[in-house]
């Protein structure tokens, strides 16, 4: 409860800071301070201290996993503020409002990690989504940004409609928004007692969540939106928001697996969706010339791996999604923070970066290695846990083999950037001078990724002990 209230309050504070403070970098520091307060509040609750406690009448339930996920999300946002905060100033004049919107998104995230019924789930999704439509279109004079925003808004509303329809049908069938009701169980396991309403509702829920996490074949909005939105906000959307969507997805469908184990029909649907997502994300990413668009497709491909957490639910799933969120978000935020500083977003724009900016080149390489899942980086253990959960669940070995073959394909396009950075001649130009603070932050981030890659207990230890 701490985090929900605090994040909303922080958003309000940021809105007013825009009126009171004229200095833009001061606004950034206020945002960082507010985020630190938020992290502290969440941490206190994680260790059982409730500073703000409101009885939600059972609509919200806080557990360690959700709170720990909040912490990861907040820390990733902190990294994002530190690395990319100053890039927001270049998008437009309303910096304080961007920060305020981001805090509202975080509020949505905290609701999504603690919902205890479909009603709060829906509210969480909406709080999460609406600020994003604004952020996507924040580059007001840029037509691509406008188009992306409109597209995202229309498609998003449509999927929200489907979501609401699904919730309504389930409510109609079961008479409850709760997750635990026995009718919900029968809705998932078969088409028997609950009639047709609940299963159809569940399928609609599933489709709209696939849309939110850009799983194929509901991914069509993602490349255009990620490409059209200002790069700083793409970074935020592709990492933090997507991870939160996944967490809610898994919480909704898999967290109650004690009640209803994943059945064969369920696994078949997911099998097809995972393979389609991996196929479309990876194969399309191979042909991109713009690094930004390549990352958009690669984020679809990464979603394919995260869907493994839904495919089989066991003790690896929870660790896996926590680690995947951390590994993927840190690396992608790092890459985007460098990308936004590049003059040219195409692959050739990175040629010779190792000569002109050795620190950027090295850290960028670490981030890409992590995304490819190379051992000694956090990305390896993220993928490891996902594969382990699938194999442990006795799931199909063919799915795992397909997944690793696509992981090898992803190496192809990630390494194209590394090749440009280190092995090709050129003058990679940045559009702003690179400050030494930025370099230090990047090195710390790269070090964290390597430490997590050698010793992931550093992260999961917090969770377990």
């Amino acid at each position: 409860m701490n985090a929900i209230i605090l994040s909303a309050l922080c958003g309000v504070v940021m809105m007013f800071s825009g009126i009171l403070l004229k200095n833009k970098s001061a606004i950034k520091y206020v945002a960082i301070a507010a985020l630190l307060v938020l992290i502290l509040g969440n941490f206190l609750q994680f260790y059982g201290v409730y500073t703000i406690d409101i009885d939600s009448k059972g609509l919200l339930a806080f557990d360690r996993t959700g709170l720990f996920f909040n912490t990861i999300i907040f820390v990733a946002t902190l990294v994002y503020f530190i690395l990319s905060g100053s890039d927001m100033e270049r998008v437009g004049p309303d910096v304080a409002e961007y920060f305020a919107l981001i805090f509202f998104v975080l509020c949505g995230v905290t609701v999504l990690t603690s919902f205890n019924g479909l009603l709060m789930f829906f509210i969480g999704i909406e709080i999460l989504s609406i600020p994003l439509y604004i952020l996507t279109g924040s580059d007001k004079k840029n037509l691509k940004s406008n188009e992306a925003s409109l597209k995202y808004f229309l498609m998003g509303s449509f999927s929200t409609g489907i979501l609401l329809m699904g919730i309504t049908l389930i409510y109609g069938a079961t008479g409850s928004f709760g997750l635990q009701s026995t009718t919900m169980k029968s809705a998932i396991t078969g088409f028997s007692s609950a009639g047709i309403l609940a299963p159809v509702g569940l399928v609609l829920l599933f489709i709209s969540m696939c849309f939110k996490v850009s799983a194929a074949p509901f991914h069509f909005w993602a490349p255009d939106v990620y490409d059209g939105a200002p790069s700083v906000f793409t970074s935020f959307m592709a990492t933090i928001v997507k991870a939160a969507g996944f967490f809610a997805f898994i919480k909704l469908f898999a967290a109650k697996s004690a009640d209803f184990g994943p059945g064969p029909a369920w696994q078949l649907i997911l099998y097809i969706i995972i393979v389609a997502t991996l196929l479309i994300g990876n194969i399309t990413a191979v042909f991109q010339q713009s690094v930004k668009r390549m990352l958009a497709y690669s984020s679809i491909a990464q979603a394919g791996f995260m869907l493994f957490a839904l495919y089989s639910t066991n003790e690896f799933t929870k660790d896996g999604i926590l680690l995947y969120t951390a590994a993927y978000s840190f690396a992608t935020i790092g890459i985007f923070s460098i990308l936004t500083k590049m003059e040219d977003y195409s692959l050739d724009g990175f040629n010779g970066l190792s000569k002109s900016q050795p620190v950027l080149a090295f850290t960028n390489t670490v981030f890409f290695l992590s995304l490819s899942g190379i051992p000694l980086t956090a990305g390896f253990f993220a993928k490891y846990y996902m594969l382990a959960s699938a194999i442990k669940g006795g799931g199909s070995l063919s799915l795992v083999i397909i997944a690793v073959l696509f992981a090898a394909v992803s190496v192809y396009y990630y390494f194209k950037v590394i090749q440009a950075i280190y092995f090709k001649e050129g003058v990679a130009a940045t559009n702003t001078p690179i400050t030494s603070n930025f370099k230090v932050a990047l090195i710390v981030l790269a070090a964290i990724i390597i430490i997590l890659g050698i010793y992931p207990t550093a992260l999961l230890g917090f969770y377990y002990f």
Partner: protein, 469 residues
């Protein structure tokens, strides 16, 4: 403690090397560090010292940082420990741009190789397996020849796909172990059904076969050897290909005995085809590097065929030959590099009569060439004798066909010696000088090892008798 030091010294010195600004300092430091590793590697041969190390690593996953040294590991640890100082010393006069990065990556490669040969925990093994690959990718792509980017990338993707399949295999076995552990003992204790073995066997074997490489998965190799900087090629062909053979002995055959027997014939036939095929191509080569590359495929093919013939005497031969082939092939690369550095070409057609100008080099090369064709009194003879003995026990006809490669080996090796060193003095060799002192020194050491173990191979044979982790 010794096994840990064998990994720790290269890792720590690699990190330090990255921060050295002066290129010469990096070079000297790498030489010193690798010599220190060599001293510990020699010390590890003593039978009395404690040769295991075990520490907690990933308690949540059931993986421990455990290392151990048996006869098989010792052989390869020694090879790794010898190769790096030899490579550094013989290429001392080569200048590399950003040499601190070059030597740092080389030392990291050494750490990875050591780890592969020492690990007695499967996940740890996988980590080192990858750690040995990634620095090599950067080494070849930055300092390699003209076509380096595409060629190295092919090499990288090939091996990466292999390792990912192996990772699935590792996970598959892990969940079958009752105590959920990656320890080699738990893996050995597994009682796998035939159908389980048949699947998991291939997941592991493809990774190892790509690394060795076995026909038809060898296509990355000649290009990669040719395009890599010679110092890296020495490590690739001298030490790194042994990773595949080592892994087959250590992990594959003991864990999947039924599948091994079932698929042995297919693998032996592929290996023998690869031997003959590579030897025939080697005869047609005009480039020293490509010739040695193909000859290396032929030698590795023989080792893999003998491995799957599952005869003890053959295995002893393979283990001895892994070490000897490493020494011999590094020697050949040193000669190739010396010629290229001095004369600027590696083509036979442009060379000739070099013996008149560089008699010492000629003598040393002839010894290396004899070792490459496994003449008696060279180290390779013992190994090949034992290997053919094993193969002969397995199947007369296969041994016969494989034997053709000995003749073909003599053809291309002696042909190379003849074209480079004898005959008319070619324009390129007109102004050739004798090789530098450091190269002479290194080659003489190698030749002493070759003849020493050729005359008295007993210590090596003793080492091969102790192969249980």
């Amino acid at each position: 403690m010794i096994p840990l030091l064998l990994i720790l010294i290269p890792v720590v010195s690699a990190i330090l090397t990255f921060f050295l600004k002066n290129g010469n300092a990096a070079k000297n430091w790498a030489l010193i560090a690798s010599t220190a590793t060599l001293i510990f590697g020699l010390y590890a041969l003593c039978p009395a010292c404690k040769l295991t190390f075990d520490a907690a690593w990933l308690p949540l996953l059931g993986s421990r940082f455990s290392l151990s040294l048996d006869g098989l590991s010792k052989m390869l640890v020694l090879l790794t420990a010898i190769s790096f100082p030899v490579v550094f010393a013989s290429t001392y006069n080569n200048d590399y741009k950003q040499s601190n990065a070059f030597y740092g990556l080389m030392l990291l490669t050494q750490a990875g190789l050591m780890g592969v040969f020492l690990a007695s925990d499967c996940l740890l093994f996988y980590f080192f397996w990858e750690l040995a690959l990634i620095p090599v990718y950067f080494l070849c792509s930055i300092w390699g020849g003209e076509k380096r980017i595409a060629v190295t990338f092919k090499f990288f993707v090939y091996t990466f796909v292999g390792s990912l399949l192996m990772l699935i295999g590792i996970l598959y076995l892990y969940f079958l172990t009752p105590d959920h552990s990656f320890a080699i003992k738990s893996f050995y204790a597994l009682k796998l059904s035939a159908s389980q073995q048949n699947v998991a066997f291939w997941l592991f074997f493809i990774a190892f076969a790509i690394k060795m490489p076995i026909f038809p998965l060898h296509t990355w190799q000649p290009d990669a050897y040719e395009q890599s900087p010679t110092a890296v090629t020495m490590i690739l062909s001298g030490v790194m290909v042994k990773m595949g053979i080592y892994a087959v002995i250590r992990w594959l055959i003991p864990i999947f005995p039924l599948a091994t027997v079932k698929y042995a014939d297919i693998i032996i036939i592929a290996s023998v085809i690869g031997m003959i095929y590579a030897s025939l191509i080697a005869i047609r080569q005009d480039d020293v590097k490509r010739l040695v590359a193909y000859s290396s495929i032929a030698h590795i093919g023989l080792m893999s065929a003998v491995l799957f013939s599952l005869k003890t005497i053959g295995w002893n031969g393979v283990m001895i030959q892994m070490f000897n082939h490493g020494i011999n092939v590094i020697g050949l690369w040193i000669v190739a590099d010396a010629i290229e550095q001095k004369l600027g070409t590696r083509k036979f057609s442009e060379l000739g009569g070099l013996a008149q100008k560089a008699p010492v080099l000629a003598i040393l090369l002839v010894v290396l060439a004899f070792a490459n064709v496994a003449l008696p009194l060279t180290n390779a003879f013992v190994g090949e004798f034992l290997m053919f003995n094993g193969l002969f026990q397995y199947n007369f006809w296969i041994a016969g066909v494989a034997g053709i490669s000995i003749i073909l080996g003599a053809v291309y090796t002696l042909n190379m010696v003849q074209k480079i060193f004898y005959g008319q003095l070619a324009p390129a060799t007109q102004n050739a000088l004798e090789i530098n002192g450091n190269v002479q020194f290194v080659l003489i050491i190698l030749v002493v090892v070759i003849i020493g173990f050729g005359v008295y191979p007993q210590p090596m044979i003793d080492l091969t008798k102790h192969i249980h982790p």
